[in-house]
Amino acid sequence: MKEYNPKEIRFIVNGKRVTVKAHPLTRLLDVLREDLKLTGVKEGCGEGECGACSVLLNGRLVNSCIIPVGSVDGMEVETIEGYRKSKKYSVIEDSFAEESAVQCGFCTPGFVMAAEALLSKNPAPTEAEIREGISGNLCRCTGYDPIVKGIKRASEKGKGLW
């Protein structure tokens, strides 16, 4: 059987085709940050618990710190750098600002991706649903309530967008 020893791994990041040279077990997080310089994707815990490394994989929320890049061969990844060009992002950005949902900001890209994943499935979530949607994300500064309110506000302001 042929070894999977790709000279290059190809996938799509923020709408663009990319090819990277990396061992297939390299963490997607490292490829995004180091090879593609997408440093909006953060490393907090490195073991799936904090959500700072959240990205969308074929539209679904995942933790890029525990995904080997070989697993995403041929798939589509969206990071905060791609998402921030959208109208939806600006609604979330404004709503987070209005609710003071950002302090140091380290967790914010992850929360924004989690918010997008939630709203795309459920455009008018209840508070409980919002808390469930961001349950994989940790924030050391805000105490979460402002983030929950920020997402609620985004869902109202962005009515019809999601």
Partner: protein
């Protein structure tokens, strides 16, 4: 650039058949969602995870992502992830309850049911519900398929009887209706915490008589605790009768619990909490 840690050989089969051949030939570590493996073999940032044997990706194989509802049996492909389990109307509530309290959405989007089973962790949260459903597994190896009861497959903490040439293909169980489902998970934090213990109870009533009951406890012994003998003692009784023998039932279960001390909870805590949840179930939760 990521520093070369240990660059093991890699495989990415195109079909499940090929996946089994690769496993048989190279004794690979199959990687489905990777949510257990990537944490287990993790190294510091920028260093390759340290896998000890060749790795084959299987998470992309659509052939393992099916559910098939027959008249009497439900079949779930090993590659179905926990988010898909939550969405699927054919999947029984008891399995959904368990899946809903595992990790958080981002992990559930990757984590597979097959990975949870093969990992065979005493804290594996799909296991008690699957034990209650009398789940069996379909394993594919170089000489064809083999069927095994889940409770026989898991042999100890982190240990299973998967042979070197085999992959888990499917989980299946008889479809039955239960009137009551009681699920409890005790962890440190709502999301992303492994169980200190978990409990699944299923009850079926025939009028005022319990016609079927299933009880399974996770993380209180090296493997899931389920006792058909004790269940038989309960079946055929009314709720008043069960109340009369609750203490005896608790004592019988107590003998089966062999919890460990670890960083998540002490053995004493695990035992006492397990018995309290069991008591709550028997006294208040089994009734319609």
């Amino acid at each position: 650039m990521v520093e070369a840690g240990r660059a093991v050989k890699m495989y990415r089969p195109g079909t499940f058949r090929e996946a089994v051949e690769i496993r048989a030939e190279y004794n690979t570590i199959p990687l489905a969602g990777g949510t257990d493996l990537m944490v287990k073999y993790r190294k510091p940032a920028g260093v390759l995870p340290f896998f000890t044997r060749p790795v084959e990706f299987i998470g992309h194989l659509n052939e393992l992502k099916y559910t098939e509802k027959g008249i009497e049996v439900l079949r779930i492909g090993a590659g179905v992830n926990l988010s898909e389990i939550l969405k699927n109307p054919d999947i029984p509530g008891s399995l959904k309850e368990a899946a809903s309290q595992i990790a958080a959405p981002g992990i559930r989007n990757m984590a597979t049911i097959g990975g949870n089973i093969c990992n065979a962790s005493p804290a594996g949260d799909m296991l008690p519900a699957l034990y209650c459903l009398d789940a069996s597994l379909l394993l594919a190896g170089k000489n064809g398929l083999r069927e095994v009861l889940l409770s026989d497959f898991i042999t100890g903490p982190g240990k299973n009887s998967l042979r070197g040439d085999e992959l888990l293909k499917e989980i299946y169980f008889p479809l039955r209706h239960y009137d009551k489902i009681y699920y409890r998970k005790v962890g440190t934090r709502m999301a992303n915490s492994l169980s200190r213990l978990s409990f699944t109870g299923l009850v079926k009533w025939n009028g005022k008589i319990i016609s079927d009951i299933r009880i399974a406890l996770g993380a209180v012994a090296p493997v899931v605790v389920r006792s058909r003998e004790i269940e038989k003692e309960i079946i055929g009784r009314s709720s008043a009768e069960v109340s009369g023998i609750t203490d005896e039932i608790l004592l019988s279960y107590k003998k089966l619990l062999h919890p460990i001390n670890d960083q998540r909870a002490s053995a004493v805590y695990r035992e006492q909490t397990a018995l309290k949840i069991l008591k709550e179930f028997l006294e208040h939760r089994i009734r319609l």
